[in-house]
Subunit: 239 residues, 2 copies
DNA sequence: CATATGGATTGATCTACATCAAGGTGAATG
DNA sequence: CATTCACCTTGATGTAGATCAATCCATATG
């Protein structure tokens, strides 16, 4: 089991500012869980007795309607946080989009720790406010953007998040793995997977992106792609 | 100026659990502001040196794209909270949908108070988590629901929120004011106002709702209307 | 009292995306 | 090495909702 100081979650997540005693306490309630791509972490409505931070891989939060329509409502990249203190059950399906490792904290002790360690609560508030902003940006995408703009936006979001985690070859080109299936992309964007496929092809034919293999994406000119998102040129950040 | 203890925001908002000293401190940094329907409280990007709680009326948070497409991303009813501690500018247009009174707290002293008063931060975290859940429910609506389901959902949301504030004649019928213009509804739902109008008319013709005057709505059978939202029958809550 | 004015409604038409359907591709498996 | 399986692509067609345009209605205004 890794030391928390080596754990990627220190970048953004709850224990980033902990030291000494607090860190020791966190260690005690901490454990790692691994999932294979496609596995479900918890179903909506199921008991969820932990909160967690993504270490490696990608997890998604989704809602499902009775007739099966699905909408993704959260995309968790490394260092992102999942789970709501003060709630027994998960409100969403949590699914591993890729192979996934999560750093889990048992909920009850975590909540106790929160009471005695104000900065954990503060950190959590900051992170929740960030997530709320991301959700609102996402709402604009869902409510008002065209299919083409949605695809361009998603690619930019992933590229940006990816770039912030590890520096990519900055010879103008941006190269990275698109870790979502067409179906997952369609659930993110409120489209069908056919429309996703068509629009990705369209961007490829126009030279705005290249695809190498099935999942690797190359963006020759990031700003050109940004133009297609519909966002303000200097626009903030999503997710 | 009202006493905080008489202020509607005590129901849900930040000062709900304050007493003695804290309340006195809150009083000192508190002031009220009134707006007429249609007025803008702040524009996205503008300096916002306060946080606030809605006392009476309705405020909206919206995002605008360069070409004018608009999406509402927040609907603030009495007792709801606006503003992000730790941020200088507003990320959204804040607009008075009806005549509006807000209870404002100057930001800097509010943040200081937060540092010394853990339960304010805790309360804020709870509220932010609730808002995040609401935003995610809203994402499902925007991404996957039909126009008809969107309208039914919005009417149910307002009815529910309204009912929780003051008890309505519970003789089966639910009667309340729909405080949004067709345009505001369309911005909430990611539709055009024409589509909103058509779908409201459709629900009326089918007897699922009645309209009295321009804004008053009567729901003869709430459960019947709920059926049209696409949500699980026991479904939670929005906004 | 005539007349703006700011919603709201309703109709006709268009189109972006969904739906239905048929292959294609590449890694995994016996 | 053939076969399967999961995923992706592309085509043909359908449709929900957008767009464009006219009219209505209630309140406000000189």
């Amino acid at each position: 089991m890794q030391e928390c100081k080596d754990c990627p979650i220190r970048h953004r997540a709850v224990c980033a500012r902990c030291e000494g005693d607090e860190l020791a306490q966190l260690e005690q309630i901490k454990y790692y869980r691994s999932f294979e791509a496609g596995q479900t972490v918890v179903w909506a409505g199921d008991k969820m007795d932990f909160v967690a931070s993504v270490v490696t891989g990608i997890a998604t939060l989704s809602q499902t309607m009775e007739d099966g329509r699905r909408q993704m409502v959260g995309l968790l990249l490394p260092s992102d946080f999942a789970g709501r203190p003060g709630r027994e059950t998960s409100a969403y399906d949590v699914t591993a989009a890729t192979d996934l490792v999560m750093c889990c904290f048992r909920k009850k002790p975590f909540e106790n720790l929160m009471l005695n360690t104000p900065h954990i609560g503060q950190r959590l508030l900051e992170m929740t406010l960030d997530e709320l902003d991301a959700a609102r940006e996402w709402m604009l995408l869902l409510g008002r953007k065209t299919a083409r703009e949605k695809i361009a936006s998603l690619i930019c979001i992933i590229a940006r998040r990816d770039a912030s985690l590890q520096l990519n070859a900055a010879d103008g080109e941006l190269r990275f793995d698109l870790p979502l299936t067409r179906e997952a992309m369609s659930e993110y964007l409120g489209l069908t997977l056919e429309t996703v496929s068509r629009q990705v092809s369209a961007l490829r034919k126009e030279g705005l992106i290249r695809t190498e293999g099935k999942r690797q994406i190359v963006i020759p000119d990031f700003d050109a792609l940004l133009e297609e998102t519909g966002d303000d040129s200097d626009g903030g950040f999503l997710i």
